[in-house]
Amino acid sequence: MQTLLDFYAKHSRLIDQIGVNAILALSLSVSLQAGQLALAQAAFMGIAAYVSAILALNYHWPLLATIVAAVLVSTVVAALLAYPVRRLRGVFLAIATIGFGEIVRVIANNLKITGGAEGMSGIPNDATTPVIYGSLAVVAIALWLLSRTKFALAVALVREDEYAARGVGIDVGAIRTLSLALGGAIAGLGGALYAHASFFITPNDFGFARMEQILVWCVVGGVTSPVGAVIGSTALSILPEAIRFLADYREVSNGIILLVVILFAPGGLASLWKWRRGAPRDPVRVHA
């Protein structure tokens, strides 16, 4: 027991980071499962982080209230973003949403209430390990329950073939909006927890580098698998600590890992357990 406590004392920050990163990876996974390469998760995370930080610092709201408010705001922003990008697909959607992320970052950089480029410090450090992992459990259970509904079937059908999905009675626009909003809500939760676990936030915490990081977690773990997203984010959160001697080459090592996964396990780490040489590709299962 003492050994575990010592381990936690030494690595508590990393353990908390892993939990927050898993939530962020799940948020992108929701959009990717609907076939949307919408890369605004870092922006949703940032918006929520600032909302919760401002409410906590300026208005002394308790943690739970700041989280609820932050998630609401990020959800609404994500749902609103879904409208102008509703006709965009693939790389065009990716570019538009990255652009949105940059707009959010630039605004945060220039607003007084967000502390400008210097950011905000002194955020109450009350997102403890149980709070973070409790939140992760809530998200995981919610997504698991959702995976057993018609919504999950609709998401899979929209990802596979929007045209045919319309033909069986699916409102493709509504499904895309809902999945983006759900991703925004989860990213918002991750952002609020990030702010309350970090003490200090700046606009650059929520820029393109963060978005790229979240995308790499999902690709490495498996783009259409929530379990894969968690595996990917956990593995790549631990890895820098495990190979600290390569700290100067972190980006290079991340790139190599990404290439290896894309080349040898395009389904991500989550697909490896059932990988067999020459075996036919298994169908994607949905609870039909």
Binding site: L157, G169, V284
Partner: protein
């Protein structure tokens, strides 16, 4: 009853459909034939909301549907298959059938799934198989089963026999007749004239977006305008 009244569709300056009037009643199979580019698939796309009408009206059981978006038209009871198969290829057979039944309030039971596969002529198919990995003929039939899963009032089949061998085509006739006998109105687009003759109660011929003839298969086969525009020596197969 599906009714198209004076329907026109324009793509830019091209009239894909010109003043087409057509009805499909329950338990009947209407064949829609014509040369490539005649507007057959455009007519199906217009009915399912994927091609906007320039003029005219489309109604189902007296209720106008052409102002509805495609997903709501599907929910009124119009199901279709596609000229190029559009199964959800990465999903299994069961999920494809569930997709067809998406608009229903309840999930398909195992008995209903078995009945659907039986009606489509693929009983005993592996429900856990990836739809995209099935043999071509089975994919065509699975697409029909998916359409039937919606319990449609109208079923539009866009070249269902394409790529099938004569034996498969012959079994397809039985499948289509059985579907119609269950009270569904069927619109069948086909180039296979023996299939059209065997399966259809009446035939409508399109050419350059216009209806140039209509009647029973044998009446259409004798129409010199149709022979000139489309059938040629194939008229014997329809007669």
């Amino acid at each position: 009853m599906l009714a198209l009244e004076h329907v026109s569709v324009r793509y830019g300056g091209v009239d894909a459909l010109k003043d087409v009037t057509l009805t499909v009643v329950p338990s009947h199979v209407v064949g829609l034939i014509g040369p490539n580019g005649a507007g057959k698939t455009t007519l199906v796309n217009a009915t399912t909301g994927l091609a906007p009408l320039a003029t005219g009206q489309i109604s189902l059981d007296g209720a106008r549907i052409n102002s509805l978006p495609p997903h709501l038209i599907a929910r009124t009871g119009i199901a279709r298959t596609y000229q190029n198969i559009r199964l959800f290829g990465a999903l299994d057979v069961r999920a494809n059938l569930a997709a067809g039944a998406y608009a229903r309030k309840t999930r398909l039971t195992n008995d209903e799934i078995a009945a659907l596969l039986e009606r489509a002529g693929i009983p005993g198919i592996d429900l856990d198989a990836r739809a995209g990995a099935l043999p071509y003929g089975d994919q065509r039939r699975l697409e029909i089963a998916r359409a039937l899963a919606a319990s449609p009032k109208v079923l539009m089949l866009d070249e269902p026999a394409a790529g099938m061998n004569p034996s498969e085509t012959s079994r397809l006739v039985e499948t289509i007749r059985a579907i119609a006998a269950s009270g569904i109105a069927v619109l069948l687009i086909e180039h296979d004239m023996p299939l059209v003759r065997a399966a259809c109660d009446s035939v409508v011929v399109l050419n350059f977006g216009e209806v140039i003839a209509r009647g029973t298969p044998s009446e259409v086969a004798r129409d010199p305008v149709v022979v000139e525009a489309y059938l040629g020596s194939g008229a014997e197969a329809l007669a």
